[in-house]
């Protein structure tokens, strides 16, 4: 399969967070309220595209990455935005992205 699992804050069964570097977060509007259905892109340390998911109705997104520096870029009909995150090891790492600010 190549499509993303259902997006949400619950990690899918069978995923070992001791081994996976999970990047998770929520897309928020300028008013701080969650924005559902945004396209969230994970860009690597050079700005190159690595993956994209569609955030859930509650704005949640999740990637399985690796230690390093990543940019989270969200596109939505109401605007775009981005945030940086630099996980140093396995585990769950969180960052929110505000769009249309």
């Amino acid at each position: 399969m190549c499509g993303a699992p259902v997006q949400g804050q619950t990690i899918p069964a069978g995923v070992d967070v001791e081994k996976e570097t999970v990047i998770t977060g929520r897309v928020l509007g300028a008013d701080g309220e969650p924005v559902g259905g945004a396209f969230v892109r994970l860009l690597d340390g050079t700005g190159e595209f690595t993956a994209e998911v569609v955030a859930s109705g509650t704005g949640d997104f999740r990637f399985f990455a690796a230690p390093g520096t990543w940019t989270l870029r969200a596109l939505s009909a109401s605007g775009n935005g981005q945030a940086e995150i630099s996980p140093e090891g396995a585990g769950v790492h969180s960052a929110n992205v505000t769009v249309g600010a």
């Binding site: 190549c2 396209f39 994209e52 999740r62 596109l75 009909a77």
Partner: protein, 278 residues
């Protein structure tokens, strides 16, 4: 072949929703996207349930494909307009697949579902039913499909274009980063492959870059105009996207999609693998 023969804008699509002999088809792996709202009148093709053989690892044969399109109400002389999620990866795969089975008039909506949604265009939840047809697929055109032994034989002689992300190419990760990374394959790439990620051929909104930008991209990355080409990725859908760019948009000759891709190649006993990035 002109770009407009194979690629249409969201505007064109919106203006042609009710055009005669025109069928809109949404192709997704996550079929729930269609159920949550689709382009008005579009039928659904589920990449896994509809387009893959239920038992063997392969896609449908000629008879199965004929039956599928007949049931979906698609006729041989219909214009098929494809779109989907994941930046049109699976729609591009379906485009390649329709061409493999000889469908004459197939088009892709530039930017797919993403562009449509970002534009705020209407989606419908209406159930779409079409009268069944008697579709006759042609024999598969194997001039656009590569198999594993051809890939090994192509090392050092053809353009091998690995369209995965740089981190997948170098073996840092094994799958696109929206998927868990525990996978059975070896890490790395086919020796001598050039890494031209599919994403470098598209804009952020999922539309394709223009022809000049695409030509410049391949030239800069070392694509040899005088050689035949095999494109691959992990499961063959992102490489269909690049096959579309090379064959349909830029008109290159002898371009094949290796749909077995890394899931097959990275599991072959003894197949040469390279980790170094040149």
């Amino acid at each position: 072949m002109a770009r407009s023969d194979v690629l249409v804008s969201a505007d064109w699509a919106e203006q042609n929703l009710n055009a005669p002999k025109t069928v809109f088809v949404e192709v997704d792996e996550d079929a729930s996207a269609y159920d949550g709202g689709h382009i008005e009148g579009a039928v659904k093709l589920d990449w896994r349930k509809d387009l893959q053989d239920p038992v063997r690892r392969d896609f449908l044969n000629q008879g199965q494909f004929s039956d599928l399109l007949s049931a979906k109400g698609i006729a041989n002389d219909d214009t098929v307009v494809l779109y989907g999620g994941n930046n049109n990866w699976f729609a591009a795969y379906a485009y390649w697949y329709f061409k493999l089975y000889g469908h004459k008039d197939v088009k892709l909506i530039d930017g797919g579902r993403k562009k449509w949604e970002l534009d705020g265009r209407a989606l419908s939840k209406d159930v779409v039913t079409r009268e069944a047809t008697k579709y006759q697929a042609a024999a598969p055109d194997l001039s656009i499909r590569a198999f594993r032994d051809e890939v090994i034989d192509a090392i050092g002689s053809k353009n091998l274009v690995d369209v995965r992300s740089p981190d997948e190419f170098s073996g840092k990760i094994l799958a696109p980063a929206h998927l868990p990374q525990e996978q059975a394959q070896q890490r790395g790439h086919v020796p001598g492959a050039i890494n031209i990620p599919w994403s470098t051929t598209a804009n952020e909104d999922g539309t394709f870059k223009d022809d000049d930008a695409l030509e410049a991209l391949y030239k800069e990355k070392g694509y040899d105009e005088n050689k035949a080409t095999i494109a691959y990725c992990r499961i063959g859908e992102r490489s269909s996207h690049t096959w579309f760019v090379l064959k349909e948009l830029l008109g290159k000759s002898d371009v094949k999609n290796y749909d077995g891709s890394w899931v097959e190649y990275g599991s072959l006993v003894g197949a040469p693998i390279e980790l170094e990035v040149h």
